[in-house]
């Protein structure tokens, strides 16, 4: 049975969003997109202690890639 998931189509859709987002970034003042990105990065730091893997499991998971 073939896969129901169309990998090529999925990438095409994601790239469409990348183009859309990059156009948006270029269309607004730097303060607008950078504020959103700063909020995102800061939230990663704020939530860093809630990460579900310890260092050993994390290193194992990235070495599997």
């Amino acid at each position: 049975m073939g896969s129901m998931f169309d990998k090529k189509q999925n990438l095409a859709e994601r790239l469409k969003f990348v183009h859309f987002y990059s156009q948006w970034v270029k269309s607004v003042p730097n303060e607008v997109w950078s504020k959103q990105q700063a909020e995102f990065i800061n939230s990663l730091f704020e939530n860093a202690r809630n990460f579900h893997l310890d260092a050993k499991k994390y290193l194992k998971s990235i070495n599997r890639r």
């Binding site: 790239l15 990348v18 183009h19 990059s22 730091f45 860093a48 260092a55």
Partner: protein, 145 residues
């Protein structure tokens, strides 16, 4: 989520100083506690990961320069000014080519994003050169140089 940091090879004594300084600033090394072991990993061409104490991500992936492309990254670095701070980054042209080389969907998205955002400022000759070194093509994704 990680930030790759590439440095020229340093001796063990300098690495121990760096290790002490980072630990003093509340960072820790995920791979091992012993600086000698960490230095051995770096010498073996492996990366060591550094994060804020008691956290795992985000982290820094620190490694010694090894390949010709690593040397290009350092030699032809770009300087990013963020307010009072300055960060050296590898050339955008090389980042785009390398992302295409890595080739996962996420890497291709990153390459396309960088190309879209910085298209006006890219050195197309350099981009072509790096894409040729890495034997990658980008036309399927709109990176048609």
């Amino acid at each position: 989520m990680d930030i790759d940091i590439l440095i020229k090879k340093i001796d063990m004594e300098t690495f121990i100083k760096l290790n002490r300084e980072l630990i003093g600033k509340q960072y820790w090394f995920l791979n091992a506690d012993n600086p000698g072991e960490l230095y051995g990993m770096l010498q073996d061409g492996l990366a060591v990961r550094i994060a804020v104490k008691e956290t795992v991500i985000p982290n820094i992936e620190l490694k010694f320069m090894k390949s010709d492309l690593d040397r290009i990254s350092l030699r032809e670095h770009m300087v990013v000014k963020t307010g009072k701070h300055i960060i050296n980054i590898s050339p955008l042209e090389l980042q785009i080519a390398f992302k295409l080389y890595l080739g996962s969907d996420k890497d291709i998205e990153d390459a396309v994003y960088l190309y879209d955002i910085f298209s006006k400022y890219l050195d197309i000759v350099k981009l072509k050169q790096y894409m040729s070194i890495l034997k990658v093509k980008g036309a399927d994704y709109g990176i048609d140089v």
